[in-house]
Amino acid sequence: MSDRIYAILIIGVIAALTALLRFLPFLVFRGQRPIPQVISYLGTVLPYAVMAMLVVYCLKDISFANIHGWLPSVISVVAVVLLHVWKRNTLFSIVGGTACYMLLIRLMV
C-alpha cells in the first residue's frame, strides 16, 4: 500500500468515525427516549481516563537509557502543570511548556 493511499484511508476512517460520534445522538435519541445509564456513566468518566492515556501516549518514547532521553520531557511536563495551576490559561501553559522543552533539548547536549 502506498503512503498516500494509507494516509487517505487513515484520514477517512478518523473523519467518518468522528462524524458518526457527532451525529449518533441526533439519530438515536430523536424521540424522548431515555439515555441508557451505562452510556451516560461512561460519558462522564471516559474523558478523564482518555486524557490520562493520551499523556502517557505522548511520553511513550522517552528512554531511561541516558539523561537526555527523559529529563527534558519530565521537566517540561512539570513546567506545564505548574504554569497551568498558576494561571489556568491553556495557551499560556502550552506555549510556555513547549518553549521550555525546545530550550532544554538544545541546552542539554
Binding site: 494509507y6 494516509a7 487513515i10 484520514i11 477517512g12 476512517v13 478518523i14 473523519a15 468515525l17 468522528t18 460520534l21 457527532r22 451525529f23 449518533l24 445522538p25 441526533f26 435519541f29 430523536r30 451505562v38 452510556i39 451516560s40 456513566y41 461512561l42 460519558g43 462522564t44 468518566v45 471516559l46 474523558p47 478523564y48 481516563a49 482518555v50 486524557m51 490520562a52 492515556m53 493520551l54 499523556v55 502517557v56 501516549y57 505522548c58 511520553l59 511513550k60 518514547d61 520531557s73 517540561s76 511536563v77 506545564v80 502543570v81 497551568h84 495551576v85 489556568r88 491553556t90 495557551l91 501553559s93 502550552i94 506555549v95 511548556g97 513547549t98 522543552y101 525546545m102 538544545r106
Partner: protein
C-alpha cells in the same frame, strides 16, 4: 443577516487565538511528518477535531493499523456523543443548517453555544451556524498556516512536537482541578502505564482502552464511583 454575522464573529473571537495557535502547531507537526499544506487542509476540513488530529499525526508516522486508528478515534472522540446529547433540543429546528451544526460541534464551539444565550434580534440558527463556521475557518487557517510556516521557517523546529504533550497535560490538569473524583484519571494513568510496560510503545493503545473501560465499568457496579 449582517448583524447576525457580526454578533457571531464577536462571540467566536475567544476561540480565534486558541485555534490559530493550536492549528499552527498541528500544521508544523504534520509538515515535519512529511505531509504538506494540502494534507492539513484536508484533515482540518474533514476531521475537524483538534486533539484527534494531533494524535493522527503520530499514528500516521507510526504506520498504525486501521483498527488501532478506528478504536483510538472512538475513545478520543467519545465525548462528542455527549455534546450531541445536550444539543438535541437546541438544534431541533435548525433545518438545512443542522447537518453542518452537528458536524462542526467541537469542544470549543460547544462551549460557546451550549448556553443558548442568543443575542436579541438575530436569527438563532444562522447565529449558531456562523459561530460554528468562523471557528472552523480559524482552525483551517491556523493549520494551513502552520504547514506553510513549517516549510519556510528559518529556524530548527525540533521539539515543537511537545506542544501535543503540553496540550493533553493542560487538559488533564484542568480536569483534575475542576472535579473532586480523581478515580477515572487514575484508572487511565495506571492502565496506560502498565499496558505500556507489558505491551511496549507500539502496541499498548488497544489493550489500554479495553482495560480502562472494563475497570471503569467494574467500578460502576461496585459503586466506587459516586457523582
Amino acid at each position: 443577516m449582517t448583524k447576525t454575522m457580526a454578533m457571531a464573529f464577536q462571540k467566536s473571537l475567544p476561540v480565534m487565538a486558541g485555534y490559530m495557535v493550536l492549528g499552527i502547531g498541528f500544521g508544523i507537526l504534520l509538515k515535519d511528518a512529511g505531509y504538506g499544506f494540502l494534507w492539513s487542509f484536508l484533515m482540518s476540513l474533514t476531521i475537524y477535531a483538534g486533539s484527534m488530529q494531533y494524535v493522527a499525526v503520530s499514528l500516521l508516522t507510526a504506520g498504525a493499523s486501521l483498527i488501532t486508528v478506528a478504536l483510538t478515534t472512538l475513545m478520543v472522540n467519545a465525548r462528542h456523543l455527549f455534546y450531541g446529547l445536550s444539543m438535541i433540543e437546541t438544534y431541533k429546528d435548525a433545518g438545512k443548517k443542522k447537518p453542518y451544526l452537528i458536524f462542526a460541534l467541537t469542544d470549543e464551539t460547544y462551549s460557546l453555544l451550549c448556553r443558548a444565550d442568543i443575542p436579541v434580534g438575530v436569527d438563532r440558527h444562522w447565529y449558531q451556524f456562523f459561530v460554528s463556521f468562523f471557528d472552523q475557518c480559524y482552525w483551517i487557517l491556523g493549520s494551513v498556516l502552520g504547514s506553510l510556516l513549517g516549510t519556510i521557517l528559518p529556524f530548527d523546529t525540533a521539539g515543537i512536537e511537545f506542544s501535543m504533550t503540553a496540550l493533553f497535560v493542560t487538559v488533564l490538569v484542568e480536569q483534575w482541578l475542576t472535579t473532586k473524583n480523581h478515580w477515572p484519571a487514575m484508572v487511565g494513568l495506571m492502565s496506560s502505564a502498565s499496558c505500556l510496560l507489558v505491551f511496549g510503545a507500539d502496541d499498548f493503545l488497544i489493550p489500554t482502552m479495553i482495560l480502562m473501560t472494563s475497570l471503569l465499568l467494574g467500578m460502576r457496579k461496585n459503586r466506587v464511583y459516586e457523582r
